[in-house]
Symmetry: C2
Subunit: 216 residues, 2 copies
């Protein structure tokens, strides 16, 4: 009899992405074979190719899903009228850090492996990344209206992304510092600088104002 597409087809497809992102994050895109991915997913390579046309499509799916989430996150903050414009940057930082810790592998793949994609697919993802950067640059512009050059807002945004994206290289998942505890430190440093930093104590206290509505 005619069989319909397995009811768990989409689930399977999604779970392959999780396994692939884990392998790519650990061994790099080029350092991971399709056999590695298949093994990580407890699938034969043949089955793997049933769900994804080729290796690039795996990478594209991982990167695009993730960057789309980031764009959505930026938009949701921009459109949330309960967030004062001058609080947007802090909210963005905190929410990004939460998103990062939930999607460590995807984010690592996005920042490290997208360069191996064919030009067309790469540009599509880069365009989305530019939207994210623009969102941060705009939030920075609100705080520094005295700075006219949009290029400088973007430069400051990129310095911020440097701090955030570099976390992956040194923040041990099992260490005493976590994405959650580092968020106040990043905000403190970024907003007030080293000179203005208050006691960087063990207990990163839940921040008073806008950070509390971050969970929402």
């Amino acid at each position: 009899m005619a069989r319909t597409r397995a009811h768990n087809y989409e689930d399977q497809k999604e779970s392959i992405l999780v396994g692939a992102a884990d392998m790519f994050a650990r061994k790099g895109y080029l350092g991971t074979s399709m056999n590695d991915v298949a093994e990580a997913c407890a699938l034969s390579k043949g089955s793997l190719y049933h769900y994804y046309r080729d290796k690039d499509e795996l990478l594209i799916s991982i990167a695009e899903n993730h960057v789309t989430r980031l764009v959505t996150l930026v938009r949701s903050v921009e459109q949330d009228e309960t967030i004062p414009a001058r609080d947007r940057l802090q909210v963005l930082i905190t929410r990004f850090l939460i998103e990062y810790s939930d999607a460590q592998n995807s984010h690592r793949v996005l920042t490290e492996d997208v360069k191996y994609l064919p030009e067309a697919a790469r540009q599509r993802i880069l365009d989305q990344e530019r939207v994210v950067v623009k969102g941060f640059a705009d939030a920075i512009a609100v705080l520094r209206p005295d700075v006219k050059a949009a290029e400088l807002h973007k430069a400051v945004a990129m310095l911020l992304f440097g701090m955030l994206n570099w976390l992956f290289t040194w923040l041990r998942p099992d260490g005493s510092l976590t994405h959650a505890t580092i968020a106040p430190l990043v905000c403190e440093l970024f907003f007030n600088g080293l000179g203005g930093m208050r006691e960087m104590s063990k207990k990163p206290k839940p921040k008073s104002l806008s950070a509390t509505r971050v969970k929402a």
Copy 2:
């Protein structure tokens, strides 16, 4: 008759490293074949193997030469008694940025490709990187003696390295912003934070590093 080693043997060896670093930086270590390196150096693959035992040895040489320079740079600042302790961090940042712009390819290889090295070689390089981080953490500790936890000094140092190392991903070599013009911006942001930032792109103002602790 017995031939002596070519008089330009060392020069050739060094120039291969330049070509290899360029290729590794552009296409990644795994994305670069030994044929690619040979071609970039205008050498046959056979000749290449005359100078370096294997691909790993190329990567090790590039990374080790570079990280050794960074360690030397840290030591020279620490031992320079004409530099007041509280100025060390700013001097370190500025000198690192100069070094980075002179060795962009090597630095990119150091931050992106060392993970593909066998454990022993990798650890050797990581140990040197830790010395560099320690140097920055110590310079930060001078500015914030009120912070007792050495772990936090290192965390702040790593946030700083994030800003610096991430520059490679977005600072176009031919853009209007350069490593030299970005240095004051980084210092300004890092020392005074966004709130304290003045007209960006102008001369960095003398640091007011009051250890005044504001309690939340």
